[in-house]
Symmetry: C2
């Protein structure tokens, strides 16, 4: 009955992917008592290329702490999609920004696209909210971390002054997910 | 940082409230490692009156196992509303069926109504799905139990043959909640 999910969150430098990876891992580990590991790659950032953050969440010990074949790949940019798509599991979830990733793999049945940046701009007048919206979508799909934990972890990590907007963006993501996704989809035992 | 939520699920006999109370408590305690107590009153059932099921969920030990002033009251019938409304906390959540509870207290700001029975009938051709839809709404609002846990607990409790429909109804409830509620609403620290 144990589970282990490997998530890769990718996009451009400045998209806030490292931050949302940390938030998700801390939600799982600190507030929900699960096991989680978060890693990020810095090497690529310095070359101004795709940027990624990885999270492993499990209800058992995480013996192998490396993401090789993610169960979920979030792509906020075309470059990130092109760079990481080949490693996604064949039955893995591909979550893309509907306006920034136009040329995407059709090998993945579990493909879902959302207008993260457009929603951030339209509803928050701030494109940087795209990552918090995406966090809500990913957390909802994942289904193993409680919303309370994700909110507490976000509040603890977001700099003072912008927590409120980020929390609204997170809620918006949860809501957006419900239109297309279900929190049982990633849980094959359900 | 600890929390304790007292929920009262009420309606008529046959509405499945005892079952959804058990499912929610088992989701919290068995699958998510929280503390939970579920109680039901049988005395009233035999008089054919309002029927209730109560759940307490906490991340700490539950020292006092009785629900006196619920944080949330679900009413699937007018009789249940009339009987239990006075005990709801003044800032508690009142969740009612929009077609079965027409005369409701206006003392409660946190009032939300949903067409549980109508949705069950329209989408599942089965009114008994109303309680599983309501479970999704309550679990989503509560926000401290993971969707995975609620689904696993439901699957373990629902008799073979109708799990699939009940799981769809549960998902429908989660989805319905997102239109009006947020899983941070019940968590005052958020």
């Amino acid at each position: 009955m144990g589970y282990r999910y490997e998530l890769r969150l990718s996009g451009d430098v400045g998209h806030g992917l490292i931050l949302i990876g940390k938030i998700l891992a801390e939600a799982a580990a600190i507030y929900d008592g699960l096991n989680a590991i978060q890693t990020q790659s810095y090497g690529e950032e310095s070359r101004g290329e795709a940027n990624r953050s990885e999270v492993i969440i499990s209800d058992e010990d995480i013996v192998f702490p490396k993401v090789e074949r993610p169960d979920l790949l979030l792509c906020l940019s075309q470059v990130a999609h092109d760079r990481y798509i080949d490693q996604l599991k064949s039955d893995g979830f591909l979550i893309i920004d509907s306006q920034r990733v136009l040329d995407f793999s059709d090998d993945h049945e579990k493909l879902f696209s959302f207008p993260f940046f457009q929603t951030a701009l339209d509803e928050f007048k701030d494109e940087s909210m795209a990552s918090s919206i995406a966090l809500g979508v990913v957390a909802d799909l994942l289904g193993v971390v409680s919303p309370r934990a994700v909110h507490l972890a976000l509040r603890a990590r977001i700099p003072k002054g912008s927590e409120e907007m980020n929390e609204k963006a997170l809620k918006r993501g949860y809501q957006m997910a419900k239109e297309k996704l279900s929190s049982t989809m990633m849980n094959p035992e359900l």
